[in-house]
Symmetry: C2
Subunit: 200 residues, 2 copies
Protein backbone atom coordinates (compact mmCIF):
# COMPACT_ATOMS: atom_id res chain seq x y z
CA UNK A 1 0.00 0.00 0.00
CA UNK A 2 1.14 3.48 -0.94
CA UNK A 3 4.42 2.15 -2.25
CA UNK A 4 4.04 4.89 -4.90
CA UNK A 5 4.98 7.45 -2.23
CA UNK A 6 8.48 5.97 -2.12
CA UNK A 7 11.09 7.52 -4.42
CA UNK A 8 14.41 5.71 -3.98
CA UNK A 9 17.62 7.48 -4.97
CA UNK A 10 18.42 7.18 -8.67
CA UNK A 11 20.65 4.35 -9.84
CA UNK A 12 21.99 5.55 -13.16
CA UNK A 13 24.97 4.24 -15.15
CA UNK A 14 27.95 6.58 -14.68
CA UNK A 15 27.60 8.33 -18.03
CA UNK A 16 23.97 9.23 -17.37
CA UNK A 17 24.60 10.23 -13.76
CA UNK A 18 27.38 12.60 -14.81
CA UNK A 19 25.39 13.94 -17.76
CA UNK A 20 22.39 14.67 -15.56
CA UNK A 21 24.59 16.53 -13.13
CA UNK A 22 26.25 18.61 -15.84
CA UNK A 23 23.05 19.38 -17.73
CA UNK A 24 21.30 20.51 -14.56
CA UNK A 25 24.24 22.73 -13.69
CA UNK A 26 24.98 24.29 -17.09
CA UNK A 27 22.20 23.33 -19.46
CA UNK A 28 22.24 20.87 -22.33
CA UNK A 29 23.82 23.13 -24.94
CA UNK A 30 26.50 24.35 -22.57
CA UNK A 31 27.42 20.79 -21.59
CA UNK A 32 30.06 19.36 -23.94
CA UNK A 33 30.63 15.68 -24.58
CA UNK A 34 34.27 16.27 -23.66
CA UNK A 35 33.28 17.53 -20.22
CA UNK A 36 30.97 14.55 -19.66
CA UNK A 37 33.68 12.11 -20.75
CA UNK A 38 36.36 13.65 -18.56
CA UNK A 39 34.06 13.69 -15.51
CA UNK A 40 33.22 10.03 -16.10
CA UNK A 41 36.94 9.30 -16.49
CA UNK A 42 36.88 8.00 -20.06
CA UNK A 43 37.58 9.43 -23.50
CA UNK A 44 34.96 10.92 -25.81
CA UNK A 45 34.54 7.95 -28.17
CA UNK A 46 33.63 5.76 -25.17
CA UNK A 47 30.44 7.82 -24.90
CA UNK A 48 29.69 7.14 -28.55
CA UNK A 49 30.07 3.42 -27.93
CA UNK A 50 27.15 3.56 -25.47
CA UNK A 51 25.05 6.32 -27.05
CA UNK A 52 24.43 7.18 -30.66
CA UNK A 53 24.99 10.88 -30.12
CA UNK A 54 24.72 13.65 -27.56
CA UNK A 55 20.97 13.95 -27.90
CA UNK A 56 20.50 10.23 -27.17
CA UNK A 57 21.98 10.87 -23.72
CA UNK A 58 19.42 13.59 -23.04
CA UNK A 59 16.64 11.39 -24.36
CA UNK A 60 17.70 8.46 -22.16
CA UNK A 61 17.48 10.74 -19.13
CA UNK A 62 14.11 12.10 -20.18
CA UNK A 63 12.83 8.56 -20.79
CA UNK A 64 13.95 7.61 -17.31
CA UNK A 65 12.23 10.66 -15.83
CA UNK A 66 8.98 9.99 -17.68
CA UNK A 67 8.99 6.35 -16.63
CA UNK A 68 9.39 7.25 -12.96
CA UNK A 69 6.72 9.92 -12.82
CA UNK A 70 4.11 8.10 -14.89
CA UNK A 71 4.53 4.82 -13.02
CA UNK A 72 4.03 6.57 -9.68
CA UNK A 73 1.05 8.62 -10.85
CA UNK A 74 -0.57 5.55 -12.40
CA UNK A 75 -0.08 3.57 -9.18
CA UNK A 76 -1.52 6.41 -7.12
CA UNK A 77 -4.60 6.61 -9.35
CA UNK A 78 -5.10 2.86 -9.28
CA UNK A 79 -4.96 2.78 -5.50
CA UNK A 80 -7.32 5.78 -5.27
CA UNK A 81 -10.13 3.93 -7.02
CA UNK A 82 -13.05 5.84 -8.51
CA UNK A 83 -13.47 8.67 -5.98
CA UNK A 84 -12.44 11.95 -7.70
CA UNK A 85 -11.18 13.54 -4.47
CA UNK A 86 -8.98 10.54 -3.75
CA UNK A 87 -7.80 10.45 -7.36
CA UNK A 88 -6.86 14.12 -7.55
CA UNK A 89 -5.24 13.98 -4.12
CA UNK A 90 -3.22 10.90 -5.06
CA UNK A 91 -2.09 12.29 -8.40
CA UNK A 92 -1.00 15.63 -6.92
CA UNK A 93 0.73 13.87 -4.03
CA UNK A 94 2.63 11.57 -6.40
CA UNK A 95 3.65 14.44 -8.67
CA UNK A 96 4.81 16.76 -5.87
CA UNK A 97 6.77 13.93 -4.21
CA UNK A 98 8.44 13.28 -7.55
CA UNK A 99 9.32 16.97 -8.00
CA UNK A 100 10.73 17.19 -4.47
CA UNK A 101 12.70 13.93 -4.61
CA UNK A 102 14.01 14.21 -8.16
CA UNK A 103 14.49 17.92 -8.71
CA UNK A 104 17.32 17.25 -11.14
CA UNK A 105 15.24 15.00 -13.39
CA UNK A 106 12.30 17.40 -13.16
CA UNK A 107 14.58 20.20 -14.27
CA UNK A 108 15.30 18.38 -17.53
CA UNK A 109 11.79 19.26 -18.64
CA UNK A 110 13.09 22.70 -19.57
CA UNK A 111 15.64 21.10 -21.92
CA UNK A 112 12.98 19.49 -24.11
CA UNK A 113 13.44 22.35 -26.56
CA UNK A 114 16.78 20.83 -27.53
CA UNK A 115 15.10 17.66 -28.82
CA UNK A 116 14.60 17.02 -32.51
CA UNK A 117 10.93 16.80 -33.56
CA UNK A 118 10.42 13.00 -33.34
CA UNK A 119 11.92 12.82 -29.85
CA UNK A 120 10.13 15.95 -28.78
CA UNK A 121 6.81 14.53 -29.88
CA UNK A 122 7.30 11.40 -27.82
CA UNK A 123 8.17 13.46 -24.77
CA UNK A 124 5.26 15.84 -25.19
CA UNK A 125 2.85 12.92 -25.43
CA UNK A 126 3.87 11.78 -21.96
CA UNK A 127 3.37 15.23 -20.51
CA UNK A 128 0.02 15.59 -22.24
CA UNK A 129 -1.03 12.23 -20.84
CA UNK A 130 -0.50 13.41 -17.27
CA UNK A 131 -2.30 16.66 -17.99
CA UNK A 132 -5.14 14.56 -19.43
CA UNK A 133 -5.32 12.39 -16.32
CA UNK A 134 -5.73 15.47 -14.16
CA UNK A 135 -8.30 17.00 -16.48
CA UNK A 136 -10.33 13.80 -16.70
CA UNK A 137 -10.30 13.43 -12.94
CA UNK A 138 -11.49 17.01 -12.52
CA UNK A 139 -14.18 16.56 -15.18
CA UNK A 140 -15.39 13.39 -13.45
CA UNK A 141 -15.50 15.20 -10.13
CA UNK A 142 -17.58 17.99 -11.66
CA UNK A 143 -19.98 15.41 -13.10
CA UNK A 144 -20.30 13.83 -9.66
CA UNK A 145 -20.95 17.24 -8.15
CA UNK A 146 -18.00 16.99 -5.79
CA UNK A 147 -15.87 19.51 -7.71
CA UNK A 148 -17.13 22.86 -8.94
CA UNK A 149 -15.13 24.51 -11.71
CA UNK A 150 -16.22 25.85 -15.05
CA UNK A 151 -12.93 25.08 -16.73
CA UNK A 152 -11.39 21.67 -15.96
CA UNK A 153 -8.75 22.14 -18.67
CA UNK A 154 -7.45 25.38 -17.19
CA UNK A 155 -7.63 23.88 -13.70
CA UNK A 156 -5.66 20.80 -14.70
CA UNK A 157 -3.00 22.87 -16.39
CA UNK A 158 -2.78 25.24 -13.43
CA UNK A 159 -2.39 22.36 -10.98
CA UNK A 160 0.27 20.66 -13.09
CA UNK A 161 2.21 23.91 -13.50
CA UNK A 162 2.18 24.66 -9.79
CA UNK A 163 3.39 21.11 -9.06
CA UNK A 164 6.24 21.48 -11.56
CA UNK A 165 7.18 24.69 -9.79
CA UNK A 166 8.07 22.67 -6.70
CA UNK A 167 11.23 21.42 -8.40
CA UNK A 168 12.33 25.05 -8.66
CA UNK A 169 12.27 25.93 -4.98
CA UNK A 170 12.22 22.75 -2.91
CA UNK A 171 15.32 22.20 -0.77
CA UNK A 172 15.92 18.92 1.09
CA UNK A 173 17.62 21.00 3.79
CA UNK A 174 14.68 23.41 3.94
CA UNK A 175 11.89 23.66 6.50
CA UNK A 176 9.56 21.19 4.78
CA UNK A 177 9.76 17.49 4.06
CA UNK A 178 8.56 16.34 0.64
CA UNK A 179 5.51 14.87 2.37
CA UNK A 180 4.62 18.19 3.99
CA UNK A 181 4.97 20.02 0.69
CA UNK A 182 2.80 17.40 -1.01
CA UNK A 183 0.13 17.79 1.68
CA UNK A 184 0.12 21.58 1.13
CA UNK A 185 -0.27 21.16 -2.61
CA UNK A 186 -3.03 18.58 -2.27
CA UNK A 187 -4.91 21.10 -0.16
CA UNK A 188 -4.36 23.87 -2.71
CA UNK A 189 -5.37 21.62 -5.62
CA UNK A 190 -8.58 20.55 -3.91
CA UNK A 191 -9.36 24.18 -3.10
CA UNK A 192 -8.67 25.14 -6.72
CA UNK A 193 -11.41 22.80 -7.90
CA UNK A 194 -13.64 24.14 -5.12
CA UNK A 195 -14.10 20.87 -3.32
CA UNK A 196 -16.80 21.34 -0.69
CA UNK A 197 -15.10 20.98 2.69
CA UNK A 198 -16.78 19.59 5.79
CA UNK A 199 -16.79 21.89 8.79
CA UNK A 200 -14.70 20.62 11.69
Amino acid sequence: MREWTVYPALELPPILAVSLDQIVQHGYDATSVRKIASEVGVTVPALYYHFENKQAILMALLDHAMQIVTSHVDAALEEAGPDPVARLSGAVEAIVLYMAHHRDLAFLDSERRSLTPPHLERYVRHRDRIEGLLRDTITAGCRDGVFRTTNPTACGRAILAMCQGVAGWFQPSGPQTPEEAAADYVRIALAAVSVVEESA
Copy 2:
Protein backbone atom coordinates in the same frame (compact mmCIF):
# COMPACT_ATOMS: atom_id res chain seq x y z
CA MET B 1 -8.44 53.23 -14.48
CA ARG B 2 -7.24 49.71 -15.05
CA GLU B 3 -4.70 50.89 -17.61
CA TRP B 4 -2.50 48.13 -16.16
CA THR B 5 -4.67 45.60 -18.02
CA VAL B 6 -3.36 46.97 -21.33
CA TYR B 7 -0.28 45.29 -22.80
CA PRO B 8 0.66 47.00 -26.09
CA ALA B 9 2.78 45.11 -28.61
CA LEU B 10 6.50 45.32 -27.93
CA GLU B 11 8.51 48.05 -29.60
CA LEU B 12 12.04 46.77 -29.50
CA PRO B 13 15.06 47.94 -31.50
CA PRO B 14 15.76 45.51 -34.38
CA ILE B 15 18.66 43.71 -32.70
CA LEU B 16 16.61 42.93 -29.60
CA ALA B 17 13.51 41.96 -31.58
CA VAL B 18 15.49 39.49 -33.67
CA SER B 19 17.40 38.19 -30.65
CA LEU B 20 14.19 37.58 -28.73
CA ASP B 21 12.77 35.69 -31.65
CA GLN B 22 15.85 33.52 -32.09
CA ILE B 23 16.33 32.82 -28.37
CA VAL B 24 12.70 31.78 -27.98
CA GLN B 25 13.00 29.46 -30.99
CA HIS B 26 16.37 27.86 -30.30
CA GLY B 27 17.48 28.86 -26.83
CA TYR B 28 20.20 31.29 -25.80
CA ASP B 29 23.16 28.94 -26.17
CA ALA B 30 22.01 27.67 -29.56
CA THR B 31 21.57 31.23 -30.87
CA SER B 32 24.81 32.56 -32.37
CA VAL B 33 25.71 36.21 -32.74
CA ARG B 34 26.28 35.52 -36.45
CA LYS B 35 22.70 34.35 -36.85
CA ILE B 36 21.33 37.39 -35.03
CA ALA B 37 23.45 39.74 -37.15
CA SER B 38 22.46 38.14 -40.44
CA GLU B 39 18.75 38.21 -39.51
CA VAL B 40 19.05 41.87 -38.61
CA GLY B 41 20.90 42.49 -41.87
CA VAL B 42 24.17 43.74 -40.44
CA THR B 43 27.58 42.27 -39.70
CA VAL B 44 28.64 40.83 -36.37
CA PRO B 45 30.73 43.77 -35.10
CA ALA B 46 27.67 46.00 -35.50
CA LEU B 47 26.10 44.04 -32.62
CA TYR B 48 29.18 44.73 -30.51
CA TYR B 49 28.82 48.44 -31.18
CA HIS B 50 25.41 48.39 -29.48
CA PHE B 51 26.00 45.68 -26.84
CA GLU B 52 29.07 44.81 -24.83
CA ASN B 53 28.69 41.10 -25.51
CA LYS B 54 26.16 38.37 -26.20
CA GLN B 55 24.99 38.17 -22.62
CA ALA B 56 24.24 41.90 -22.54
CA ILE B 57 21.64 41.26 -25.25
CA LEU B 58 19.94 38.65 -23.09
CA MET B 59 20.13 40.90 -20.06
CA ALA B 60 18.59 43.83 -21.97
CA LEU B 61 15.66 41.60 -22.90
CA LEU B 62 15.27 40.34 -19.34
CA ASP B 63 15.43 43.90 -18.00
CA HIS B 64 12.69 44.88 -20.42
CA ALA B 65 10.58 41.90 -19.35
CA MET B 66 11.02 42.64 -15.66
CA GLN B 67 10.19 46.30 -16.15
CA ILE B 68 6.93 45.45 -17.91
CA VAL B 69 5.69 42.88 -15.45
CA THR B 70 6.65 44.74 -12.29
CA SER B 71 5.16 48.02 -13.47
CA HIS B 72 1.84 46.36 -14.27
CA VAL B 73 1.70 44.39 -11.02
CA ASP B 74 2.59 47.48 -9.00
CA ALA B 75 -0.11 49.49 -10.74
CA ALA B 76 -2.67 46.72 -10.15
CA LEU B 77 -1.81 46.59 -6.45
CA GLU B 78 -1.97 50.35 -6.07
CA GLU B 79 -5.40 50.49 -7.67
CA ALA B 80 -6.61 47.57 -5.55
CA GLY B 81 -6.05 49.45 -2.30
CA PRO B 82 -5.86 47.61 1.01
CA ASP B 83 -8.42 44.83 0.46
CA PRO B 84 -6.53 41.49 0.26
CA VAL B 85 -9.07 39.93 -2.12
CA ALA B 86 -8.80 42.87 -4.50
CA ARG B 87 -5.01 42.88 -4.19
CA LEU B 88 -4.58 39.17 -4.90
CA SER B 89 -7.08 39.33 -7.74
CA GLY B 90 -5.36 42.33 -9.29
CA ALA B 91 -1.89 40.85 -9.01
CA VAL B 92 -2.91 37.52 -10.51
CA GLU B 93 -4.84 39.25 -13.27
CA ALA B 94 -1.87 41.46 -14.15
CA ILE B 95 0.54 38.51 -14.13
CA VAL B 96 -1.65 36.22 -16.25
CA LEU B 97 -2.34 38.99 -18.77
CA TYR B 98 1.41 39.54 -19.02
CA MET B 99 2.05 35.83 -19.58
CA ALA B 100 -0.66 35.62 -22.24
CA HIS B 101 0.35 38.81 -24.07
CA HIS B 102 4.11 38.42 -23.90
CA ARG B 103 4.71 34.69 -24.04
CA ASP B 104 8.06 35.22 -25.72
CA LEU B 105 9.38 37.51 -22.98
CA ALA B 106 7.96 35.21 -20.31
CA PHE B 107 9.80 32.31 -21.91
CA LEU B 108 13.12 34.07 -21.34
CA ASP B 109 12.78 33.25 -17.66
CA SER B 110 14.04 29.76 -18.42
CA GLU B 111 17.24 31.25 -19.89
CA ARG B 112 18.25 32.91 -16.63
CA ARG B 113 20.62 29.99 -16.01
CA SER B 114 22.85 31.41 -18.75
CA LEU B 115 23.46 34.59 -16.77
CA THR B 116 26.70 35.19 -14.90
CA PRO B 117 26.23 35.49 -11.11
CA PRO B 118 25.93 39.31 -10.80
CA HIS B 119 23.31 39.52 -13.56
CA LEU B 120 21.53 36.45 -12.26
CA GLU B 121 21.31 37.96 -8.81
CA ARG B 122 19.67 41.11 -10.12
CA TYR B 123 17.16 39.07 -12.07
CA VAL B 124 16.34 36.76 -9.17
CA ARG B 125 15.72 39.75 -6.91
CA HIS B 126 12.96 40.92 -9.23
CA ARG B 127 11.31 37.52 -9.26
CA ASP B 128 11.60 37.23 -5.49
CA ARG B 129 10.00 40.64 -5.13
CA ILE B 130 6.89 39.51 -7.00
CA GLU B 131 6.76 36.30 -4.99
CA GLY B 132 7.04 38.45 -1.85
CA LEU B 133 4.17 40.69 -2.94
CA LEU B 134 1.93 37.65 -3.36
CA ARG B 135 3.03 36.17 -0.04
CA ASP B 136 2.54 39.42 1.85
CA THR B 137 -0.91 39.85 0.35
CA ILE B 138 -1.86 36.32 1.36
CA THR B 139 -0.45 36.79 4.84
CA ALA B 140 -2.43 40.03 5.24
CA GLY B 141 -5.57 38.27 4.08
CA CYS B 142 -5.06 35.53 6.66
CA ARG B 143 -4.58 38.14 9.38
CA ASP B 144 -7.85 39.81 8.29
CA GLY B 145 -9.58 36.43 8.37
CA VAL B 146 -10.60 36.66 4.72
CA PHE B 147 -8.07 34.03 3.58
CA ARG B 148 -7.52 30.70 5.27
CA THR B 149 -4.27 28.95 4.54
CA THR B 150 -1.64 27.57 6.88
CA ASN B 151 1.22 28.21 4.49
CA PRO B 152 1.20 31.59 2.71
CA THR B 153 4.69 31.00 1.34
CA ALA B 154 3.75 27.75 -0.38
CA CYS B 155 0.52 29.30 -1.60
CA GLY B 156 2.28 32.31 -3.08
CA ARG B 157 4.82 30.14 -4.84
CA ALA B 158 2.11 27.82 -6.15
CA ILE B 159 0.08 30.73 -7.50
CA LEU B 160 3.10 32.33 -9.17
CA ALA B 161 4.15 29.00 -10.73
CA MET B 162 0.72 28.31 -12.14
CA CYS B 163 0.60 31.83 -13.61
CA GLN B 164 3.99 31.34 -15.25
CA GLY B 165 2.65 28.15 -16.75
CA VAL B 166 0.21 30.19 -18.80
CA ALA B 167 3.04 31.31 -21.09
CA GLY B 168 3.61 27.65 -21.93
CA TRP B 169 0.15 26.85 -23.27
CA PHE B 170 -1.68 30.07 -24.09
CA GLN B 171 -2.42 30.53 -27.79
CA PRO B 172 -3.81 33.84 -29.15
CA SER B 173 -5.67 31.74 -31.72
CA GLY B 174 -7.04 29.44 -29.02
CA PRO B 175 -10.48 29.33 -27.44
CA GLN B 176 -9.73 31.82 -24.66
CA THR B 177 -8.88 35.49 -24.65
CA PRO B 178 -6.17 36.63 -22.24
CA GLU B 179 -8.90 38.23 -20.14
CA GLU B 180 -10.84 34.96 -19.88
CA ALA B 181 -7.71 33.05 -18.89
CA ALA B 182 -6.93 35.72 -16.29
CA ALA B 183 -10.45 35.44 -14.86
CA ASP B 184 -10.06 31.65 -14.56
CA TYR B 185 -6.76 32.01 -12.76
CA VAL B 186 -8.06 34.69 -10.40
CA ARG B 187 -10.82 32.26 -9.42
CA ILE B 188 -8.32 29.44 -8.89
CA ALA B 189 -5.98 31.66 -6.88
CA LEU B 190 -8.77 32.86 -4.62
CA ALA B 191 -9.92 29.27 -4.14
CA ALA B 192 -6.35 28.23 -3.35
CA VAL B 193 -6.27 30.63 -0.41
CA SER B 194 -9.74 29.41 0.57
CA VAL B 195 -11.48 32.72 0.25
CA VAL B 196 -14.96 32.36 1.70
CA GLU B 197 -17.42 32.74 -1.15
CA GLU B 198 -20.90 34.20 -0.78
CA SER B 199 -23.73 31.90 -1.80
CA ALA B 200 -25.63 33.06 -4.86
